[in-house]
Amino acid sequence: MKNKWLLALAIVIVLLGFALTRVVKNPYLYFASYVILQYIVLATAWNILGGYTGYVNFGTAAFFALGAYTSIFLIKAFAAPLPLLILAGGLVSGLLGLGIGYLTLRLRGVFFAIATLALAVVLQTMVINWQYVGGAKGINIIRPRAVLFFTSYVEFLFAVMVLLAVVAVAVAWWIEHSWIGRGLAAIRDNEEAAECMGVPTLKLKVFATTVSGFLMGVAGAPFPYYLTFVEPSSAFNLDYGVNSLAMPMIGGTTTWMGPVIGAVLLGTAQQVATVTISSALNLLIVGVVLVGFVILAPEGIVGLAKRLMRRRSA
Protein backbone atom coordinates (compact mmCIF):
# COMPACT_ATOMS: atom_id res chain seq x y z
CA MET A 1 0.00 0.00 0.00
CA LYS A 2 2.73 2.40 1.07
CA ASN A 3 4.72 1.40 -1.99
CA LYS A 4 1.89 2.44 -4.29
CA TRP A 5 1.67 5.84 -2.65
CA LEU A 6 5.39 6.37 -3.04
CA LEU A 7 5.25 5.33 -6.68
CA ALA A 8 2.39 7.76 -7.24
CA LEU A 9 4.39 10.48 -5.50
CA ALA A 10 7.36 9.79 -7.76
CA ILE A 11 5.23 10.11 -10.89
CA VAL A 12 3.61 13.29 -9.56
CA ILE A 13 7.03 14.84 -8.93
CA VAL A 14 8.19 14.07 -12.47
CA LEU A 15 4.96 15.53 -13.91
CA LEU A 16 5.23 18.60 -11.67
CA GLY A 17 8.78 19.15 -12.89
CA PHE A 18 7.54 18.97 -16.46
CA ALA A 19 4.58 21.25 -15.71
CA LEU A 20 6.86 23.82 -14.09
CA THR A 21 8.65 24.34 -17.40
CA ARG A 22 5.28 25.32 -18.92
CA VAL A 23 4.64 27.98 -16.33
CA VAL A 24 7.84 29.55 -15.07
CA LYS A 25 10.23 31.04 -17.61
CA ASN A 26 13.08 32.31 -15.44
CA PRO A 27 16.18 30.50 -16.81
CA TYR A 28 18.16 31.00 -13.61
CA LEU A 29 15.65 28.88 -11.71
CA TYR A 30 16.37 25.90 -13.95
CA PHE A 31 20.07 26.57 -13.97
CA ALA A 32 20.18 26.49 -10.15
CA SER A 33 17.68 23.67 -9.68
CA TYR A 34 19.63 21.48 -12.09
CA VAL A 35 22.62 21.62 -9.76
CA ILE A 36 20.54 20.70 -6.73
CA LEU A 37 18.87 17.82 -8.57
CA GLN A 38 22.24 16.62 -9.77
CA TYR A 39 23.35 16.57 -6.15
CA ILE A 40 20.31 14.54 -5.16
CA VAL A 41 21.49 11.90 -7.61
CA LEU A 42 25.13 12.10 -6.48
CA ALA A 43 24.35 12.12 -2.76
CA THR A 44 21.90 9.23 -3.13
CA ALA A 45 24.46 7.27 -5.16
CA TRP A 46 27.17 7.99 -2.61
CA ASN A 47 24.91 6.88 0.21
CA ILE A 48 24.29 3.45 -1.30
CA LEU A 49 27.96 2.68 -0.77
CA GLY A 50 28.86 5.08 2.05
CA GLY A 51 25.70 5.03 4.14
CA TYR A 52 24.24 1.57 3.55
CA THR A 53 27.46 -0.40 3.15
CA GLY A 54 29.89 1.68 5.18
CA TYR A 55 32.57 2.24 2.56
CA VAL A 56 33.49 5.91 2.29
CA ASN A 57 34.09 7.08 -1.26
CA PHE A 58 36.04 10.32 -1.72
CA GLY A 59 36.18 9.87 -5.46
CA THR A 60 32.66 10.86 -6.51
CA ALA A 61 34.26 13.33 -8.94
CA ALA A 62 35.93 10.44 -10.79
CA PHE A 63 32.63 8.66 -11.45
CA PHE A 64 30.82 11.90 -12.24
CA ALA A 65 33.52 13.10 -14.65
CA LEU A 66 33.74 9.71 -16.28
CA GLY A 67 30.04 10.00 -17.08
CA ALA A 68 30.57 13.51 -18.43
CA TYR A 69 33.58 12.54 -20.56
CA THR A 70 31.86 9.45 -21.88
CA SER A 71 29.18 11.83 -23.12
CA ILE A 72 31.73 14.16 -24.68
CA PHE A 73 33.36 11.26 -26.49
CA LEU A 74 30.04 9.96 -27.80
CA ILE A 75 28.87 13.42 -28.84
CA LYS A 76 32.09 14.03 -30.77
CA ALA A 77 32.32 10.59 -32.29
CA PHE A 78 28.69 9.76 -33.06
CA ALA A 79 26.59 12.80 -32.13
CA ALA A 80 24.71 10.40 -29.88
CA PRO A 81 21.34 11.48 -28.39
CA LEU A 82 20.96 12.32 -24.69
CA PRO A 83 19.19 9.12 -23.51
CA LEU A 84 22.00 7.08 -24.98
CA LEU A 85 24.58 9.36 -23.34
CA ILE A 86 22.98 8.87 -19.96
CA LEU A 87 22.89 5.12 -20.36
CA ALA A 88 26.47 4.96 -21.63
CA GLY A 89 27.76 7.28 -18.90
CA GLY A 90 26.09 5.10 -16.31
CA LEU A 91 27.49 1.91 -17.76
CA VAL A 92 31.08 3.16 -18.00
CA SER A 93 31.05 4.54 -14.45
CA GLY A 94 29.27 1.40 -13.28
CA LEU A 95 32.12 -0.62 -14.74
CA LEU A 96 34.60 1.52 -12.83
CA GLY A 97 32.48 0.87 -9.72
CA LEU A 98 32.68 -2.85 -10.40
CA GLY A 99 36.48 -2.60 -10.39
CA ILE A 100 36.43 -0.58 -7.17
CA GLY A 101 34.23 -3.29 -5.66
CA TYR A 102 37.04 -5.79 -5.94
CA LEU A 103 39.36 -3.31 -4.22
CA THR A 104 37.28 -3.80 -1.07
CA LEU A 105 38.74 -7.29 -0.86
CA ARG A 106 42.00 -5.79 0.35
CA LEU A 107 41.23 -2.21 1.30
CA ARG A 108 38.94 -1.23 4.13
CA GLY A 109 38.18 1.87 6.14
CA VAL A 110 40.45 4.81 5.55
CA PHE A 111 42.58 2.93 3.00
CA PHE A 112 39.60 2.42 0.74
CA ALA A 113 38.77 6.13 1.03
CA ILE A 114 42.32 7.09 0.06
CA ALA A 115 42.24 4.73 -2.91
CA THR A 116 39.07 6.35 -4.25
CA LEU A 117 40.63 9.79 -3.88
CA ALA A 118 43.69 8.58 -5.78
CA LEU A 119 41.43 7.17 -8.46
CA ALA A 120 40.02 10.65 -9.14
CA VAL A 121 43.54 12.09 -9.46
CA VAL A 122 44.69 9.34 -11.82
CA LEU A 123 41.61 9.65 -14.05
CA GLN A 124 41.92 13.42 -14.18
CA THR A 125 45.55 13.12 -15.29
CA MET A 126 44.52 10.73 -18.04
CA VAL A 127 41.79 13.04 -19.29
CA ILE A 128 44.13 16.03 -19.21
CA ASN A 129 46.37 14.15 -21.62
CA TRP A 130 43.59 12.98 -23.90
CA GLN A 131 43.36 15.61 -26.63
CA TYR A 132 40.35 14.09 -28.39
CA VAL A 133 38.05 15.14 -25.53
CA GLY A 134 39.71 18.51 -25.10
CA GLY A 135 42.68 17.72 -22.89
CA ALA A 136 43.68 20.32 -20.32
CA LYS A 137 42.23 23.29 -22.17
CA GLY A 138 38.71 21.88 -22.19
CA ILE A 139 36.15 21.46 -24.91
CA ASN A 140 33.11 23.32 -26.21
CA ILE A 141 29.95 21.31 -26.69
CA ILE A 142 27.16 22.69 -28.84
CA ARG A 143 23.69 21.96 -27.54
CA PRO A 144 21.18 20.42 -29.89
CA ARG A 145 18.31 22.63 -30.92
CA ALA A 146 15.45 22.84 -28.46
CA VAL A 147 13.67 19.56 -27.93
CA LEU A 148 10.07 18.70 -28.66
CA PHE A 149 7.70 20.06 -25.97
CA PHE A 150 10.39 22.34 -24.54
CA THR A 151 11.07 25.94 -25.40
CA SER A 152 14.65 25.97 -24.14
CA TYR A 153 17.29 23.29 -23.72
CA VAL A 154 17.95 24.19 -20.07
CA GLU A 155 14.30 23.52 -19.28
CA PHE A 156 14.63 20.17 -21.00
CA LEU A 157 17.77 19.33 -19.01
CA PHE A 158 15.96 20.32 -15.84
CA ALA A 159 13.09 17.95 -16.61
CA VAL A 160 15.57 15.16 -17.40
CA MET A 161 17.33 15.72 -14.10
CA VAL A 162 14.03 15.60 -12.21
CA LEU A 163 13.44 12.20 -13.76
CA LEU A 164 16.98 10.99 -12.97
CA ALA A 165 16.72 12.17 -9.37
CA VAL A 166 13.44 10.33 -8.90
CA VAL A 167 14.89 7.18 -10.44
CA ALA A 168 18.01 7.37 -8.26
CA VAL A 169 15.96 7.80 -5.09
CA ALA A 170 13.65 4.95 -6.16
CA VAL A 171 16.67 2.67 -6.62
CA ALA A 172 17.96 3.61 -3.16
CA TRP A 173 14.50 3.05 -1.67
CA TRP A 174 14.28 -0.38 -3.26
CA ILE A 175 17.74 -1.42 -2.07
CA GLU A 176 17.03 -0.17 1.44
CA HIS A 177 13.80 -2.17 1.73
CA SER A 178 15.04 -5.37 0.12
CA TRP A 179 17.12 -8.26 1.40
CA ILE A 180 20.09 -6.62 -0.30
CA GLY A 181 19.78 -3.57 1.93
CA ARG A 182 19.64 -5.72 5.05
CA GLY A 183 22.76 -7.57 3.90
CA LEU A 184 24.55 -4.29 3.22
CA ALA A 185 23.63 -3.04 6.70
CA ALA A 186 25.12 -6.22 8.18
CA ILE A 187 28.33 -5.58 6.24
CA ARG A 188 28.44 -2.00 7.50
CA ASP A 189 27.95 -3.11 11.10
CA ASN A 190 30.43 -5.97 11.04
CA GLU A 191 31.74 -7.42 7.85
CA GLU A 192 33.30 -10.52 9.42
CA ALA A 193 30.15 -11.42 11.32
CA ALA A 194 28.05 -10.79 8.20
CA GLU A 195 30.12 -13.23 6.16
CA CYS A 196 29.87 -15.81 8.94
CA MET A 197 26.09 -15.39 9.02
CA GLY A 198 25.85 -16.37 5.37
CA VAL A 199 25.91 -12.93 3.75
CA PRO A 200 27.87 -13.09 0.47
CA THR A 201 29.81 -9.96 1.39
CA LEU A 202 31.95 -9.63 -1.73
CA LYS A 203 29.01 -10.04 -4.08
CA LEU A 204 26.94 -7.45 -2.21
CA LYS A 205 29.81 -4.97 -1.94
CA VAL A 206 30.47 -5.24 -5.67
CA PHE A 207 26.76 -4.73 -6.27
CA ALA A 208 26.82 -1.56 -4.12
CA THR A 209 29.90 -0.08 -5.77
CA THR A 210 28.53 -0.83 -9.24
CA VAL A 211 25.10 0.69 -8.64
CA SER A 212 26.63 3.68 -6.86
CA GLY A 213 29.08 4.22 -9.73
CA PHE A 214 26.34 3.78 -12.32
CA LEU A 215 24.17 6.49 -10.75
CA MET A 216 27.10 8.89 -10.43
CA GLY A 217 27.90 8.38 -14.12
CA VAL A 218 24.24 9.00 -14.94
CA ALA A 219 24.43 12.30 -13.05
CA GLY A 220 27.52 13.31 -15.01
CA ALA A 221 26.30 12.36 -18.47
CA PRO A 222 24.12 15.46 -19.19
CA PHE A 223 26.78 17.75 -17.67
CA PRO A 224 28.49 18.73 -20.99
CA TYR A 225 25.16 19.98 -22.36
CA TYR A 226 24.46 21.82 -19.16
CA LEU A 227 27.66 23.87 -19.12
CA THR A 228 28.46 23.62 -22.88
CA PHE A 229 32.10 23.95 -21.90
CA VAL A 230 33.86 21.18 -19.96
CA GLU A 231 37.40 21.17 -18.67
CA PRO A 232 38.99 18.58 -16.38
CA SER A 233 39.25 20.92 -13.41
CA SER A 234 35.50 21.55 -13.42
CA ALA A 235 34.39 17.97 -14.11
CA PHE A 236 36.81 16.51 -11.57
CA ASN A 237 36.19 19.27 -9.03
CA LEU A 238 36.76 18.26 -5.44
CA ASP A 239 33.39 19.86 -4.63
CA TYR A 240 31.63 16.78 -5.98
CA GLY A 241 33.48 14.47 -3.63
CA VAL A 242 33.00 16.71 -0.60
CA ASN A 243 29.38 17.64 -1.27
CA SER A 244 28.12 14.16 -2.07
CA LEU A 245 29.65 12.98 1.20
CA ALA A 246 28.48 15.94 3.28
CA MET A 247 24.87 15.89 2.05
CA PRO A 248 24.03 12.36 3.26
CA MET A 249 25.94 13.00 6.48
CA ILE A 250 23.83 16.08 7.16
CA GLY A 251 20.55 14.51 6.08
CA GLY A 252 21.19 11.10 7.63
CA THR A 253 22.91 8.10 6.07
CA THR A 254 20.64 5.22 7.01
CA THR A 255 17.59 6.11 4.93
CA TRP A 256 16.90 7.20 1.36
CA MET A 257 15.44 10.44 2.69
CA GLY A 258 18.70 11.62 4.25
CA PRO A 259 20.65 12.38 1.06
CA VAL A 260 17.60 14.07 -0.46
CA ILE A 261 17.13 16.36 2.54
CA GLY A 262 20.86 17.07 2.72
CA ALA A 263 21.12 17.80 -1.01
CA VAL A 264 18.13 20.12 -1.00
CA LEU A 265 19.24 22.06 2.09
CA LEU A 266 22.93 22.28 1.36
CA GLY A 267 22.46 22.64 -2.39
CA THR A 268 20.01 25.51 -1.92
CA ALA A 269 22.24 27.21 0.63
CA GLN A 270 25.14 27.00 -1.79
CA GLN A 271 23.13 28.39 -4.68
CA VAL A 272 21.87 31.28 -2.55
CA ALA A 273 25.37 32.01 -1.28
CA THR A 274 26.76 31.95 -4.81
CA VAL A 275 24.34 34.62 -5.90
CA THR A 276 24.26 36.80 -2.81
CA ILE A 277 27.80 36.59 -1.46
CA SER A 278 30.38 34.73 -3.53
CA SER A 279 30.89 31.37 -5.21
CA ALA A 280 34.03 30.80 -3.17
CA LEU A 281 31.92 30.53 -0.04
CA ASN A 282 30.41 27.18 -1.05
CA LEU A 283 32.94 24.83 0.49
CA LEU A 284 33.18 26.97 3.61
CA ILE A 285 29.44 26.56 4.17
CA VAL A 286 29.71 22.80 3.68
CA GLY A 287 32.65 22.60 6.07
CA VAL A 288 31.01 24.57 8.86
CA VAL A 289 27.67 22.78 8.58
CA LEU A 290 29.32 19.36 8.41
CA VAL A 291 31.45 20.00 11.49
CA GLY A 292 28.35 21.16 13.32
CA PHE A 293 26.40 18.06 12.39
CA VAL A 294 29.18 15.60 13.12
CA ILE A 295 29.43 17.04 16.64
CA LEU A 296 25.79 17.80 17.45
CA ALA A 297 23.76 15.34 15.34
CA PRO A 298 25.95 12.54 14.02
CA GLU A 299 22.87 10.69 12.76
CA GLY A 300 21.86 13.63 10.58
CA ILE A 301 18.53 15.37 10.33
CA VAL A 302 16.59 12.13 9.87
CA GLY A 303 18.24 10.61 12.95
CA LEU A 304 17.57 13.77 14.93
CA ALA A 305 13.91 13.80 13.93
CA LYS A 306 13.51 10.14 14.85
CA ARG A 307 15.05 10.74 18.25
CA LEU A 308 12.74 13.68 18.93
CA MET A 309 9.68 11.68 17.89
CA ARG A 310 10.70 8.80 20.11
CA ARG A 311 11.09 11.17 23.04
CA ARG A 312 7.67 12.67 22.46
CA SER A 313 5.95 9.29 22.27
CA ALA A 314 7.81 8.04 25.35
Binding site: W179, R182, A186, D189, A193, M197
Partner: protein, 242 residues
Protein backbone atom coordinates in the same frame (compact mmCIF):
# COMPACT_ATOMS: atom_id res chain seq x y z
CA UNK B 1 23.49 -41.64 10.97
CA UNK B 2 25.39 -41.47 14.23
CA UNK B 3 29.09 -42.16 14.03
CA UNK B 4 29.47 -40.60 10.61
CA UNK B 5 32.28 -38.06 10.23
CA UNK B 6 30.71 -34.64 9.95
CA UNK B 7 33.91 -32.64 9.99
CA UNK B 8 37.16 -34.03 8.70
CA UNK B 9 40.12 -31.66 8.77
CA UNK B 10 43.23 -33.31 7.40
CA UNK B 11 46.68 -32.02 8.37
CA UNK B 12 45.69 -28.36 8.32
CA UNK B 13 48.68 -26.03 8.23
CA UNK B 14 48.58 -22.24 8.59
CA UNK B 15 51.54 -19.88 8.49
CA UNK B 16 51.62 -16.17 9.28
CA UNK B 17 54.84 -14.99 7.67
CA UNK B 18 57.53 -17.12 9.26
CA UNK B 19 55.36 -18.19 12.16
CA UNK B 20 53.70 -21.58 12.03
CA UNK B 21 50.34 -21.03 13.70
CA UNK B 22 49.14 -24.56 12.86
CA UNK B 23 51.30 -27.52 11.88
CA UNK B 24 49.50 -30.48 10.34
CA UNK B 25 46.57 -30.49 12.70
CA UNK B 26 43.96 -33.14 11.96
CA UNK B 27 40.55 -33.11 13.54
CA UNK B 28 37.65 -35.50 13.07
CA UNK B 29 34.30 -34.73 14.61
CA UNK B 30 31.42 -37.19 14.45
CA UNK B 31 27.85 -36.21 13.77
CA UNK B 32 26.03 -35.36 16.99
CA UNK B 33 29.20 -35.24 19.02
CA UNK B 34 30.14 -32.77 21.75
CA UNK B 35 33.75 -31.97 21.07
CA UNK B 36 36.09 -29.87 23.21
CA UNK B 37 39.08 -27.97 21.89
CA UNK B 38 41.51 -26.73 24.50
CA UNK B 39 45.06 -25.46 24.75
CA UNK B 40 47.07 -22.65 26.32
CA UNK B 41 46.76 -19.09 25.00
CA UNK B 42 48.27 -18.73 21.54
CA UNK B 43 48.18 -22.45 20.84
CA UNK B 44 46.19 -21.96 17.63
CA UNK B 45 42.63 -22.83 18.67
CA UNK B 46 41.02 -19.77 17.14
CA UNK B 47 43.24 -20.03 14.05
CA UNK B 48 42.03 -23.59 13.53
CA UNK B 49 38.43 -22.45 13.91
CA UNK B 50 39.05 -19.63 11.45
CA UNK B 51 40.39 -22.14 8.93
CA UNK B 52 37.41 -24.45 9.43
CA UNK B 53 34.82 -21.66 9.22
CA UNK B 54 36.54 -20.02 6.26
CA UNK B 55 37.62 -16.72 7.82
CA UNK B 56 41.18 -17.79 6.98
CA UNK B 57 42.45 -20.06 4.20
CA UNK B 58 44.75 -22.83 5.31
CA UNK B 59 48.14 -23.06 3.55
CA UNK B 60 48.22 -26.85 3.66
CA UNK B 61 45.84 -29.73 4.25
CA UNK B 62 42.25 -30.30 3.26
CA UNK B 63 38.93 -29.86 5.02
CA UNK B 64 35.81 -31.94 4.41
CA UNK B 65 32.34 -31.32 5.76
CA UNK B 66 29.65 -33.96 5.43
CA UNK B 67 31.85 -35.77 2.91
CA UNK B 68 32.21 -32.69 0.72
CA UNK B 69 35.49 -30.84 0.30
CA UNK B 70 35.25 -27.22 1.48
CA UNK B 71 38.94 -26.29 1.57
CA UNK B 72 38.44 -23.43 -0.88
CA UNK B 73 34.84 -22.46 -0.17
CA UNK B 74 34.22 -18.89 1.03
CA UNK B 75 32.97 -18.47 4.59
CA UNK B 76 29.36 -17.63 3.74
CA UNK B 77 29.02 -20.84 1.73
CA UNK B 78 30.36 -22.89 4.61
CA UNK B 79 27.78 -21.22 6.83
CA UNK B 80 25.05 -22.23 4.39
CA UNK B 81 26.37 -25.80 4.42
CA UNK B 82 25.97 -25.76 8.19
CA UNK B 83 29.25 -24.67 9.80
CA UNK B 84 28.36 -21.79 12.07
CA UNK B 85 30.62 -20.16 14.62
CA UNK B 86 30.13 -17.71 17.40
CA UNK B 87 32.83 -15.16 18.11
CA UNK B 88 35.09 -14.94 21.12
CA UNK B 89 34.45 -11.21 21.28
CA UNK B 90 30.77 -10.76 20.38
CA UNK B 91 30.32 -9.05 17.02
CA UNK B 92 26.67 -7.95 16.94
CA UNK B 93 25.18 -5.85 14.14
CA UNK B 94 25.09 -2.65 16.14
CA UNK B 95 22.60 -0.64 14.10
CA UNK B 96 19.98 -3.36 14.44
CA UNK B 97 17.75 -4.57 17.23
CA UNK B 98 18.33 -7.98 18.79
CA UNK B 99 15.51 -9.42 16.68
CA UNK B 100 16.88 -7.94 13.45
CA UNK B 101 20.28 -9.42 14.28
CA UNK B 102 18.69 -12.86 13.99
CA UNK B 103 16.86 -12.04 10.80
CA UNK B 104 20.13 -11.72 8.87
CA UNK B 105 21.19 -15.39 9.27
CA UNK B 106 17.56 -16.55 8.96
CA UNK B 107 17.34 -14.78 5.64
CA UNK B 108 20.83 -15.48 4.34
CA UNK B 109 22.15 -18.65 5.91
CA UNK B 110 19.36 -21.02 6.87
CA UNK B 111 19.17 -23.82 4.27
CA UNK B 112 15.45 -23.25 3.64
CA UNK B 113 16.11 -19.55 3.39
CA UNK B 114 13.88 -17.25 1.48
CA UNK B 115 13.83 -13.50 1.27
CA UNK B 116 10.10 -13.23 1.61
CA UNK B 117 9.18 -15.54 4.47
CA UNK B 118 8.25 -14.06 7.80
CA UNK B 119 11.57 -14.52 9.53
CA UNK B 120 10.68 -12.27 12.44
CA UNK B 121 8.37 -14.86 14.01
CA UNK B 122 11.03 -17.51 13.72
CA UNK B 123 13.63 -15.16 15.19
CA UNK B 124 11.34 -14.57 18.14
CA UNK B 125 11.04 -18.32 18.77
CA UNK B 126 14.82 -18.63 18.92
CA UNK B 127 15.08 -15.68 21.29
CA UNK B 128 12.50 -17.34 23.53
CA UNK B 129 14.42 -20.60 23.49
CA UNK B 130 17.62 -18.81 24.51
CA UNK B 131 15.76 -16.63 27.01
CA UNK B 132 16.44 -13.10 25.75
CA UNK B 133 13.07 -12.50 24.10
CA UNK B 134 12.41 -9.61 26.49
CA UNK B 135 15.23 -7.73 24.71
CA UNK B 136 13.96 -8.41 21.19
CA UNK B 137 13.39 -4.79 20.26
CA UNK B 138 16.41 -3.32 22.03
CA UNK B 139 19.50 -2.17 20.14
CA UNK B 140 22.47 -4.42 20.83
CA UNK B 141 24.34 -1.55 22.46
CA UNK B 142 21.95 -1.82 25.41
CA UNK B 143 22.82 -5.43 26.26
CA UNK B 144 24.78 -6.75 29.21
CA UNK B 145 27.76 -9.06 28.76
CA UNK B 146 25.77 -12.27 29.32
CA UNK B 147 22.96 -11.08 27.05
CA UNK B 148 25.54 -10.31 24.38
CA UNK B 149 26.88 -13.88 24.65
CA UNK B 150 23.38 -15.27 24.40
CA UNK B 151 22.68 -13.10 21.37
CA UNK B 152 25.84 -14.47 19.79
CA UNK B 153 24.53 -18.02 20.35
CA UNK B 154 21.01 -17.13 19.27
CA UNK B 155 22.31 -15.62 16.05
CA UNK B 156 24.38 -18.72 15.42
CA UNK B 157 21.27 -20.86 15.97
CA UNK B 158 19.33 -18.74 13.51
CA UNK B 159 21.81 -19.84 10.84
CA UNK B 160 20.49 -23.40 11.38
CA UNK B 161 23.86 -25.03 12.00
CA UNK B 162 24.75 -28.69 11.67
CA UNK B 163 28.02 -27.90 13.39
CA UNK B 164 28.16 -25.11 15.96
CA UNK B 165 31.59 -23.83 16.90
CA UNK B 166 31.41 -21.95 20.15
CA UNK B 167 34.54 -19.86 20.58
CA UNK B 168 34.94 -19.06 24.28
CA UNK B 169 31.28 -18.25 24.77
CA UNK B 170 31.78 -18.28 28.53
CA UNK B 171 34.90 -16.22 29.06
CA UNK B 172 34.34 -13.61 31.73
CA UNK B 173 30.98 -14.95 32.91
CA UNK B 174 30.05 -15.79 36.48
CA UNK B 175 29.68 -19.46 37.38
CA UNK B 176 25.87 -19.26 37.35
CA UNK B 177 26.03 -17.70 33.91
CA UNK B 178 28.44 -20.38 32.73
CA UNK B 179 25.85 -23.00 33.76
CA UNK B 180 23.26 -21.02 31.88
CA UNK B 181 25.24 -21.13 28.64
CA UNK B 182 26.15 -24.80 29.19
CA UNK B 183 22.47 -25.66 29.47
CA UNK B 184 21.80 -23.95 26.16
CA UNK B 185 24.63 -25.83 24.45
CA UNK B 186 23.47 -29.18 25.89
CA UNK B 187 19.98 -28.51 24.63
CA UNK B 188 21.22 -27.63 21.15
CA UNK B 189 23.16 -30.87 21.10
CA UNK B 190 20.06 -32.82 22.09
CA UNK B 191 18.42 -31.38 19.00
CA UNK B 192 21.07 -33.03 16.89
CA UNK B 193 23.54 -30.18 16.49
CA UNK B 194 27.19 -31.15 16.67
CA UNK B 195 29.12 -28.78 18.92
CA UNK B 196 32.78 -27.87 19.08
CA UNK B 197 33.49 -25.96 22.24
CA UNK B 198 36.61 -23.89 22.67
CA UNK B 199 36.96 -22.95 26.27
CA UNK B 200 39.40 -22.10 29.02
CA UNK B 201 36.95 -22.91 31.80
CA UNK B 202 37.97 -26.52 32.43
CA UNK B 203 34.99 -27.34 34.61
CA UNK B 204 32.73 -26.53 31.67
CA UNK B 205 34.74 -28.30 28.94
CA UNK B 206 35.23 -31.45 30.98
CA UNK B 207 31.55 -31.65 31.81
CA UNK B 208 30.39 -30.90 28.31
CA UNK B 209 32.73 -32.76 26.01
CA UNK B 210 32.60 -36.39 24.97
CA UNK B 211 35.96 -36.03 23.31
CA UNK B 212 38.66 -33.40 23.68
CA UNK B 213 41.61 -32.38 21.52
CA UNK B 214 44.50 -30.40 22.97
CA UNK B 215 46.54 -27.93 20.94
CA UNK B 216 49.91 -26.58 21.97
CA UNK B 217 52.07 -24.26 19.86
CA UNK B 218 50.10 -25.09 16.75
CA UNK B 219 50.25 -28.86 17.11
CA UNK B 220 47.77 -31.38 18.39
CA UNK B 221 49.39 -33.03 21.39
CA UNK B 222 46.54 -35.15 22.68
CA UNK B 223 43.04 -36.36 21.96
CA UNK B 224 40.67 -38.48 23.97
CA UNK B 225 37.92 -38.58 26.55
CA UNK B 226 38.00 -35.96 29.34
CA UNK B 227 39.40 -38.59 31.76
CA UNK B 228 42.21 -39.50 29.39
CA UNK B 229 43.07 -35.86 28.83
CA UNK B 230 43.21 -35.14 32.54
CA UNK B 231 45.66 -38.02 33.07
CA UNK B 232 47.81 -37.06 30.07
CA UNK B 233 51.33 -36.04 31.09
CA UNK B 234 51.97 -34.01 27.98
CA UNK B 235 48.86 -31.92 28.49
CA UNK B 236 49.94 -31.23 32.03
CA UNK B 237 53.34 -30.16 30.77
CA UNK B 238 51.81 -27.85 28.16
CA UNK B 239 49.69 -26.10 30.76
CA UNK B 240 51.98 -26.06 33.75
CA UNK B 241 55.49 -26.42 32.31
CA UNK B 242 58.12 -28.88 33.45
Amino acid sequence: MPGLMLLDAQSVTKRFGGFNALTKVSLQVKEGERFGLIGPNGSGKTTLINCISGALRNDGGRIFFGGKEITNAPAHQRTRLGIVRSFQIPKPFTSMTVLENLCIPLEYAAPARSHTADVAAEAMEILQAIGIDSKANVLTTGLTQIEMRKLELARAMAAKPKLLISDEAMAGLSSAEVDDVLTILFRLNEHGITVIMIEHIMRAVMRFSERIAVLDAGEKIAEGTPEEIMRNKEVERAYLGE
